[in-house]
Subunit: 293 residues, 2 copies
């Protein structure tokens, strides 16, 4: 799957591309069915919602779950990202976000690259977010919201919000959000929210400002969020543990297109649990790292 | 404005009726412009969001604000409710709910009549909710969500939730919500969310189960919620203060249809502040009241 010139232009303008139903129901089923067992594990990589046992986000499933390891190497997902960067990519982050029925909490307005810069010292924005829906996404189960074109602003001011939800996030100030939405068309398209069936995929720029509300509906809205980084743009600091921000910069080798239907062998280095090294962090201050770099 | 037989049938089946743009922009403007000064008052009747200074709900503005006192007597709002009950009505509750940009918090799934029964000892469901939009309501600013037909279940089990938000509410259990949504059509219409311009009105049954998510958008979603009760069905207990649950059961006398455009005189008994009586409550236990009744 290669992107057309129109799609490349659209991505440049809006900061995202939406592919409804890109993966079939059958392809997605193996992934969806694997989620409950992964969420049930009492491991550091399962971050639960504030005041609830529901999983907010699961990290690094591609390191210990076969179906997700195959998804991480799927050409329909990886090829367009390589097209956009004209370079090979490695897996920077791999999440299965719960946004579970009744329990799923908000994700405040933020840019992902803000975190990757501030925490991981990733040199530039040459990393891509990919969202793959494991459930129907509709207006009631907390769909992702984007401010089109907001990626053009580069990294905007943010503050480290440690209290609103169970997961710390560099969030963007309300006043700036209002400006960005107005600039993007206000009530006419200033916020967009792609919805669709399981198997839909969104590619979105690492500087695109996004958020999602809580899920009060009886429908789970589980999505996989993969962050693919151009190999030359690998992170320089290990302030966050490896299961959150990966340190293996080997380019992704794609499997064949039918890899979600056939049991191609995949390596699962964390199959038997997280190694101690996956929890280790380095605390070198950002300024010192910058100077050394 | 009288309801047609089709509308009466629709109300019976779905539990609500939606009238997009029933009031004009000009009629609504006088109301919207009065809100900031009302919200700025440091009075018991302004309930603020948890951890924020934004007003979540303002009570009883029709007792101290001219434009809202006129709205409370508007025939376009009152006549259809009298049609549905075939009886005169009084004002049981009058709220201006903020759901302010960025700050507006969720309202959990609930029925209003559950509260009126449990707290106010209102004998039957013969009371109507009316929502009037003062702002555009869209998919991003926390629109009201209904489960169509859920009013047919009468009063369902609820628990008194004192912690989720700043306002105590009798909320419905998640398992029951899932059942009601499934019964109403699941993902095909099991939840509906009327959206429209300022001046739109919704009538909804006091047993209709409803909720709304938080407002992460830069757009306020201020709505007036009026609760009109059939006079014979007036409340029997004063556990909640009068500014929340009114004790004057005089039938509403409508003003002419142009009352939001012309300055008809209205009585404003609380113009100079809440009287001490408006804060007094009676603590007779429900069981004793029931026995005495």
């Amino acid at each position: 799957m290669h992107l057309t010139p129109e799609q490349l232009e659209q991505f440049d303008r809006d900061g995202y591309l939406f592919f409804p139903g890109l993966f079939s129901t059958e392809e997605i089923r193996t992934l969806t069915e694997a989620v409950p067992a992964l969420y049930a594990r009492r491991e550091a990589y399962n971050v639960r919602e504030k005041g609830s046992d529901a999983v907010r986000t699961n990290f690094a499933a591609h390191m210990y779950s076969e179906p997700f390891a195959r998804l991480a190497r799927h050409p329909r997902m990886v090829q367009p990202v390589m097209d956009l960067f004209d370079e090979q990519v490695y897996m920077h982050q791999f999440k299965i976000n719960g946004k579970m029925a009744f329990e799923g909490d908000v994700w405040q307005w933020h840019q992902d690259y803000g975190t990757w810069l501030n925490d991981d010292m990733m040199p530039t924005e040459r990393a891509m977010n990919v969202a793959i829906f494991l459930d129907d996404v509709n207006e009631f189960n907390g769909p992702l919201m984007f401010i089109p074109g907001s990626h053009k602003k580069g990294v905007v001011d943010a503050r480290h919000d440690l209290s609103t939800t169970s997961y710390p996030l560099w969030t963007v100030d309300n006043h700036l959000i209002a400006q960005l939405v107005e600039r993007a068309g206000g009530k006419q398209g200033g916020i967009v929210s792609p919805k669709g069936p399981p198997g839909s995929m969104i590619l979105f720029h690492s500087c695109l400002v996004h958020a999602s509300t809580s899920n009060l509906s009886p429908w789970n809205r589980v999505s996989v969020y993969l962050s693919l980084c151009a190999v030359s743009n690998h992170i320089r600091r290990h302030k966050r543990p490896e299961y959150i921000a990966h340190r293996d910069f080997t380019p992704i080798a794609c499997l064949p297109d039918d890899c979600l239907r056939l049991p191609y062998p995949v390596d699962l280095p964390w199959r038997d649990g997280l190694p101690a090294s996956a929890l280790q962090t380095s605390s070198v201050p950002f300024a010192d790292m910058k100077q050394a770099a």
